[in-house]
């Protein structure tokens, strides 16, 4: 066999495709199989295509559409009876596609902008944050909306633009503290991963996260030199870039001597949780990456462990929960967010059918594959509507924006809101719990 064929097999994780016994148990769990109705867009179908490509029975281009239309939600891994590592197979396939580049101009420009400009650079994200802030404050937004100007923006950005949260002023964000002491007897010291999207567009949620942790009894450090987690890069096959970002974060947090490395975005959390896997072939880094991943925690897990809050304000709302796929299927965090929610006085919890299924946000999937994403979202909104909830709680910025978009599409702006769990907890006036005597 030629060396190139062998290299392709390795890059596609060919050996791992044999773990799939093609039983089909993943089909009902797959949101794209549900909406697109073709085996080609199911986990079993995609794994088979990867195998066919690896064996030289089909061409790389033949798997492009099925692989690019995968949400990467990893719900299939949770239901798989033979423990197929779909995430690895998917990332391998994406990196092969990336090398085999033949992208359309529009996509190339967008991806270049997103990956090489937007996400890795805090400066860029700040600029975006500033521009967004300026845009909202000056009233330009209102004019643009009225005149339909934003509808002409490429990639349906107008749709997302309309649901962006109020952005904090650049002054406020630049002056964020780097260390926040515990508001009661400190039980632990944690590092906080501020994230790129979270820090610019959801700055208030980050502030609330830090506040909750400190009230619950954690000292929080927010290292300035940290960077993007690399999730969006890894999920589009840009593995080398993702590794560089991972290394930078590992170095930064190693210096801080913390018990946990805390994040509040399910998608980022999953990436941090898998740094060990990302760097497993790099002898200088794999142990360090393992240490990092072991310490990585979602904020809900740390708050549950601290058990240091009591809520003073009764919320009197009907609440439903849309889980983050990467929190559920990769980090396997499922009970903590629900337990926190149910600890809030006054709420009525209404479980949504399939709340653990993807909402179609999936990183930048909803920007790159807008129509497919909206079909998945519409299915989700129908299920949301049946809960009659007035508040949808999520734990990831992508899901939050998508749910806001869903509310708008369903014309429910007046009755329903979407909110990050952390912000919802803050609304219930959490105070440090007095230790039991």
């Amino acid at each position: 066999m030629s060396e190139a064929a062998n290299r392709l097999k390795k890059q596609l994780h060919y050996e791992k495709t044999f773990d799939c016994v093609q039983c089909g148990y993943c089909l009902p769990a797959c949101p794209t199989y549900e909406t697109m109705g073709k085996e080609t867009h199911s986990p079993r179908g995609r794994i088979n295509l990867v195998k066919m490509v690896a064996e030289g029975k089909s061409s790389v281009e033949n798997m492009r559409e099925p692989i690019e239309k995968c949400l990467g939600c990893r719900a299939c891994q949770t239901v798989c009876p033979t423990n197929v590592q779909y995430g690895e197979i998917l990332e391998g396939a994406k990196s092969v596609l990336e090398d085999h580049e033949k992208k359309t101009k529009k996509q190339q420009v967008t991806e270049d902008f997103i990956f090489n400009g937007l996400f890795p650079s805090r400066k860029w994200m700040n600029a975006i944050g500033n521009a967004t802030w300026f845009y909202q404050k000056t009233g330009l937004q209102a004019i643009a909306r009225k005149s339909g100007m934003t509808a002409m923006a490429p990639l349906h950005l107008d749709k997302f633009e309309a649901v962006l949260p109020k952005v904090a002023s650049p002054f406020e964000r630049r002056n964020s503290p780097r260390l926040v002491k515990a508001k009661r007897n400190p039980k632990m010291r944690v590092g906080f991963v501020s994230g790129c999207v979270m820090d610019s567009m959801f700055h208030q949620t980050n502030k609330n996260t830090i506040e909750l942790l400190s009230r619950a009894g954690a000292e929080v450090v927010i290292p300035k030199a940290q960077t993007c987690c690399g999730a969006l890069h890894a999920h589009t096959g840009k593995l080398e870039e993702a590794r560089q970002l991972a290394k930078q974060n590992i170095e930064v947090f190693e210096k801080e001597n913390v018990n946990y490395i805390v994040n509040n975005a399910g998608g980022c959390g999953a990436m941090l949780f898998e740094y060990d896997h990302l760097l497993k072939d790099e002898p200088d880094w794999n142990r360090r990456a393992e240490q990092f991943s072991k310490k990585s925690r979602d904020v809900t897990v740390v708050l549950t462990e601290l058990d240091g809050l009591e809520f003073r304000h009764s919320m009197n709302e009907r609440v439903t929960y849309q889980s983050s796929c990467h929190m559920t299927h990769v980090q396997k965090v499922t009970s903590e967010p629900l337990a926190l929610l149910e600890g809030i006085p006054g709420i009525t919890y209404r479980e949504m059918a399939g709340y653990d299924r993807c909402c179609g946000s999936a990183g930048i999937y909803n920007i790159v594959n807008y129509e497919d994403s909206m079909e998945i979202l519409d299915v989700k909104m129908e299920k949301t509507r049946r809960t009659k909830a007035d508040t949808i709680v999520t734990t990831n910025p992508g899901c939050l924006l998508q749910m806001k978009l869903g509310i708008q599409r369903a014309g429910l702006e007046k009755e329903v809101r979407a909110v990050h769990l952390v912000d919802f907890l803050m609304e219930a006036d959490p105070q440090p719990k007095e230790p039991r005597k």
Partner: protein, 471 residues
Amino acid sequence: MKVMTSAHEQELQAIFGENRVLLEESDRLSYSFDASFGTYMPDAVVQPRSTEEVAKVMKLANREGIPVYPRGQSTSLSGGPLPVNGGIVLDCSQWNDKLEIRPEDMIAVVSPGILTARIDEEAEKWGLMYPPDPSSSHVSTIGGNLAENSGGPRGLKYGVTKDYCIGLEIVTPEGHVMRTGGRTIKNVTGYDLTKLIIGSEGTLCVITEATLKLVPRPKAYRTAMIIFDDLVTSGQAITKVLTSGILPSKLELMDQACILAVEEYKPLGLPVTAEAIVLIELDGHPKAIEEEIEKVAFICREAGAHSVNVAGSSEEAAKLWQARKLVSPAIVRKKPTKVSEDATVPRSKIPEMFQRLKEIRDRFHVDLVVFGHAGDGNLHPNIICDKRDLEEMDRVEQAVEEIFKAAIELGGTLSGEHGIGTMKAPFMEMEVGPIGIDMMKRMKNAWDPNQIMNPGKIFPEPGKKLVLRDE
């Protein structure tokens, strides 16, 4: 070897519109396999949503001699939906618009693409139950279940798919629409074509609608886990339970190899020295099964069980069943390929079958584990192997052949619930004899004169052997 021309493709598009005719290579590759072995490229995949569309495509196929392969979600373990001679795959999995429960008649009327488990979920709303429960019922379609006459753990008490289907709407290979049976339990008008079609593996016609019988839903369930130091004792205990006037809804067994695999995978504290674990579930009126489960426990203790654990709550019961659920993921950890057989023997021959399986394991040095529905003699000998290892697969093929021989010699059958498909076709004559094959073939020829319905299945083809390797 393509059997279709572009004119045929256009004709299909005229019937289905462009979106439901899949011609791209990536799509066709995605319908080239099932959960058994081998990949076969179809020329086209169509996704019907109505009986009329099926009739049209059958007329076209019959006129042009193009093979047609009905397919559900392709969870088949016997090769039933594989498009072995090219042609058209009829993907009925997306045809799921009808699921009507008629509580007054105690029936359900369903489209072929409805997932089997959904029928039972809907029936539950009316206090009814659709009993057949293949382990893939949350994935598999009723159309596929009907074609293969699928069964599951509840088969012991409730029977299999054919015991619940009382009427069908079908499209014949020549494109005619007809109905068989009806909506009544009793119906002796003419030949029972319904039962002929169920289990015919898509070789006689396309099922487009089914009328299913429902039964009252049991009010309560009780579960017991019984551990045996040796396998023969477990067989004796099972016989004693089943002859005591109690009919369990499920009676599942796992052997020592399964117990070891589960304990290595996720330690549940199962005794690794035990040769067998038996799980028994009773259903019915809470008071009745309360008494019966005690009796089951007593009988098993008397018969020499190592220990008996009766679950006190449904949570505890779920915990006990966990052991059985973990078997599948546990056994594939060593090697990825699972050859799953379903040779079935009369209940009384179970201990003997276990002995024969042990001999086969030793003789061919294969990694053979046994679990399954011991109550109805439907064992699942699974051989864990690696299909990339050709030498090993050669031994596996021989071992499988020996398993079939053993089952038939003990008065059993090649397949209890998976079907014959491509996998077991070479062994058909061993069970039904040359006259049996001939009579079946005459029936096939009468229904499908042009041999377009799911060719290559059930009937042995000269020179064809069991092949578990990819060419």
